[in-house]
């Protein structure tokens, strides 16, 4: 292989530079960024539009409020603390239960209230926010994930990441936490990415640390050929997120709650490229086709139909190869 670039190009793999120059810069207007960068704003927008999100228990904005942490947390047995401006899953603390006066992390480690307070203080001082600006900490509902994923998830909650371009879902993957990722669902932190057939909602084989796998490394569960429940519902949800924030190229993260169904967890204005690895499909052909449409259907079901159509075309293309 003399020119690996050509092969990547031919397979339609989107690179970081091209993502930034051809998709993020032209399609994502800067002024809409706060809507997705601030998870609190995203939540409000989603709620106003009737989109289900994990319930917000409380917001901590100033250090002083940490003293009243106990009162804020007392009604809840389990919850998640996250920075409103966090990115890449950093700074998220998942509490699954209590042990006497203390809190139990997803990994089983027991934390004191003081330690939780310190974590919140770190969030507030901007340790996890983009650009190190002062931040807010959100306390929200901990998603009880669908038992379907029990066998393929370790400690954390799997989420479904979909790249939505001009309101049309283009590629989707499910991200499975591992012991390595410490229960977090970010691929670069060691989570597994599993491609999803956009038409059927069935999973393909996954990638973990850049290698193809079919079984979860921690639980041994088979990750291939799982059927994602409420798939059409999820596709519609992701398509609607475009109308929510007006950004042309976004990543939508959805979690499947046991009781509440699909919930929109967060939106991302700079979604990563690993989704291509998880699906073993390059993003470019689909993006280019969507780019070439003068008009994108305004109704959500039409856009989902378009997404499926595009997926079918590229499926047949790749299988024909």
């Amino acid at each position: 292989m003399i020119f690996p670039w050509w092969h990547l190009r031919r397979l339609g793999v989107l690179g970081m530079n091209q993502r930034n120059a051809d998709y993020i810069l032209p399609y994502n207007q800067r002024r809409y960024y706060p809507l997705v960068d601030d998870k609190r704003q995203t939540k409000h927008l989603a709620l106003a539009a009737g989109i289900a999100v994990p319930e917000l228990y409380g917001v901590i904005e100033i250090i002083h409020q940490i003293k009243a942490l106990n009162t804020l947390l007392s009604p809840y047995e389990d919850f998640v603390i996250k920075p409103a401006h966090g990115s890449g899953g950093e700074g998220i603390l998942v509490i699954t239960g209590r042990y006497q006066d203390r809190y139990r992390k997803a990994s089983g480690i027991i934390l004191t209230e003081e330690e939780i307070g310190h974590h919140i203080a770190n969030i507030l001082s901007g340790m996890y926010s983009l650009g190190g600006l002062p931040d807010t900490a959100l306390v929200e509902y901990r998603v009880k994930f669908n038992p379907l994923f029990d066998a393929v998830s370790y400690l954390g909650v799997p989420d479904i990441r979909t790249i939505v371009f001009r309101g049309v879902p283009t590629l989707a993957m499910i991200r499975l936490p591992t012991r390595l990722s410490d229960g977090r669902a970010n691929l670069h932190q060691g989570a597994i990415g599993v491609g999803i057939n956009l038409v059927t909602g069935h999973t393909n084989s996954g990638v973990w640390k850049e290698q193809v796998i079919e079984y979860h490394p921690d639980t041994g569960g088979r990750i291939k050929s799982l059927k994602i429940p409420h798939w059409d519902n999820i596709l519609e949800l992701t398509a609607r997120c475009f109308d929510l924030v007006g950004l042309g190229y976004i990543g939508v993260d959805i979690v499947l709650d046991r009781d509440l169904g699909p919930l929109v967890l967060e939106l991302n204005a700079r979604p990563g490229l690993s989704i291509q690895l998880a699906n073993k499909i390059g993003l470019l052909p689909r993006l280019q086709r969507i780019e070439n449409f003068n008009q994108i259907p305004s109704s959500v079901p039409d856009r989902v139909a378009l997404a499926k159509e595009l997926a079918q075309v590229s499926e047949s293309l790749t299988s024909g190869e």
Binding site: M1, P4, R9, M16, A21, D22, G126, E210, V212, Q276
Partner: protein, 513 residues
């Protein structure tokens, strides 16, 4: 066409940058390589006379440097004398005057000359002279001259060949009788030139003496050498009056032309004039810069050379930063290297300038390692972010102070130059590294830290490159090219080198297919 705007902009920037640099290199003669030196002549004329006690006035012909050389400096050393310089189209005359002068008077005229790049030494212009009257030659000289002129006339085509032929006959080593008659009674070269002019007038050819100074190293008591010029209706043509060879000798400085006296003195006596010449080698940059000033080049007027030296030195460093940032652009967008902070490695590289590479790397690793240890200790104290950063900063500075004192005690003065190390940058590096350590493990943190250090070292090697430093300082417009390339890379949508590794699954698939 995609990105046409950016491409056009980049293209024009490159054209502007290159053409400016080309102009400065060829026309102004700015050197493309550092430490190029050129010979500079220092010519001094010393005028000494005894004053009669009253007012003194002295007029002295000085060179009008126009061809072959550029005067890069000119001085008149004449303490209490008033000075004025006049030009008459052919010559320049300095006029010194003083109301009361007593005893021995010494005046100096000094000029520093740099050889011109392209122009050869040429005769001077000036108005076309009238044809001289044929003098009334005394006999027997008259008939000898006329016979000789007649003979030469038949063997020549124009003024130049006529003069050449005449001179070679007059100067012949086995002269005929005519020549011997004409040579008689001529004691010095000056009189000889005058004699030749006298003879040329017989053919109605305008001629004039020209006085030149030969530039040779360490001439203490030089004198002007008379030379001959004839006019052919268009221009003055120079001849060696002794040999009849055309042109001026090499390294000849034309002092003045024409029959007027070299010097006119009023109110003084026993005038002595001496010339001394010396040469030295000077940085071509300085010479070119002064030459450009003399040429009234606007570009040079607004160049960095017009700044005070101290500020020039600052810009020598500052102008290298775009080259460092361009390196970062390439490493990040084309290669895909990860570093702590965007331009942090370049600031570290700048700090390496003060400490030199080995010490810089040693200090960087040492301080970051010690700082990390302290940072992990602080983690136990559960401090808020900003106070924690501030604490690390205090410790970093204390560490640096300790290192400086220790190295000084041991006798390693190098350690002292650590003072300009960017502490804030180091503190941020320590903080980011400790975060990466906790979030992604020590391997990742060390890898990124090492990556940053490598980029800093690479940046250091680039920004301390003498040739590059010289180029961007003398030709700052070359930075427009850096800007153009940066703009082009700003619209580069190709894959990063590391992405080939990242997407190797796809490549393997392609191989199988």
């Amino acid at each position: 066409m995609k990105n046409l705007h950016v491409k056009l902009l980049a293209f024009s920037l490159i054209i502007i940058g290159l053409s400016l640099a080309y102009y400065k290199a060829t026309i102004l003669g700015l050197p493309l390589f550092p430490a190029e030196k050129t010979k500079v002549w220092m010519v001094e004329a010393r005028l000494e006379f005894k004053s009669k006690g009253g007012p003194a006035k002295i007029q002295f012909q000085i060179p009008q440097v126009s061809a072959g050389f550029t005067a890069i400096g000119e001085d008149f050393i004449s303490s209490k004398y008033g000075l004025s310089v006049e030009e008459d189209g052919t010559n320049r005359i300095a006029q010194w005057a003083v109301r009361r002068a007593q005893g021995d008077q010494v005046l100096y005229y000094r000029v520093e000359l740099a050889p011109e790049l392209t122009a050869p030494i040429q005769s001077r212009g000036g108005a076309t002279p009238p044809f001289p009257e044929i003098p009334k030659y005394p006999e027997p000289m008259g008939s000898v001259i006329l016979a000789l002129l007649d003979e030469v006339h038949s063997k020549s085509a124009d003024v130049a060949s006529f003069s050449g032929e005449l001179l070679s006959r007059l100067n012949s080593s086995n002269p005929d009788e005519n020549a011997l008659v004409l040579r008689k009674g001529v004691e010095d070269p000056e009189a000889w030139v005058k004699r030749v002019i006298y003879i040329l007038a017989g053919a109605r050819i305008p001629a004039r003496p020209v006085y030149i100074l030969l530039l040779k190293h360490r001439v203490k008591h030089g004198s002007l050498i008379p030379w001959l010029e004839v006019h052919n209706g268009q221009e003055w043509i120079a001849f060696d009056p002794k040999t009849g060879e055309r042109g001026f000798p090499e390294n000849a400085l034309i002092w003045y032309a024409g029959g007027q006296p070299l010097v006119k003195l009023e109110g003084g006596e026993s005038l002595k004039i001496g010339y001394s010449v010396s040469s030295r080698f000077q940085d071509l940059v300085l010479v070119a810069e002064r030459r450009a000033r003399k040429m009234n080049s606007l570009i040079m007027d607004f160049s960095l050379f017009s700044l005070p030296v101290q500020m020039q030195n600052v810009y020598r460093v500052l102008l290298m930063i775009p080259i460092g940032t361009f390196l970062i652009v390439v490493l990040r967008n084309v290669i895909g290297v990860k570093t702590f902070g965007t331009f942090m490695p370049i600031l570290i590289a700048l700090a390496f300038r003060e400490t030199e590479l080995f010490w810089g790397v040693a200090l960087f690793t040492g301080i970051v390692a010690l700082g990390l240890m302290l940072r992990f200790y602080l983690e136990y104290l559960k401090l808020l972010l900003v106070p924690r950063l501030a604490s690390v900063l205090v410790m970093v500075i204390l560490l640096m102070a300790i290192i400086s004192v220790l190295t000084h005690k041991i006798g390693l003065e190098r350690g002292l130059s650590v003072a300009l190390f960017p502490m804030v940058i180091l503190t941020m590096t320590i903080e980011r590294m400790s975060l990466a350590w906790e979030e992604h493990g020590p391997a990742e943190a060390l890898q990124q830290g090492f990556g940053s250090l490598m980029v800093a070292v690479l940046g250091y090697l680039l920004i301390t490159n003498k040739l590059l430093e010289h180029l961007v300082f003398v030709f700052p417009e070359l930075l427009l090219m850096i800007l153009a390339m940066t703009l082009l890379l700003g619209r580069y949508t190709g894959y990063r080198l590391t992405e080939l590794w990242r997407f190797k699954e796809f490549l393997m698939k392609a191989d199988k297919g």
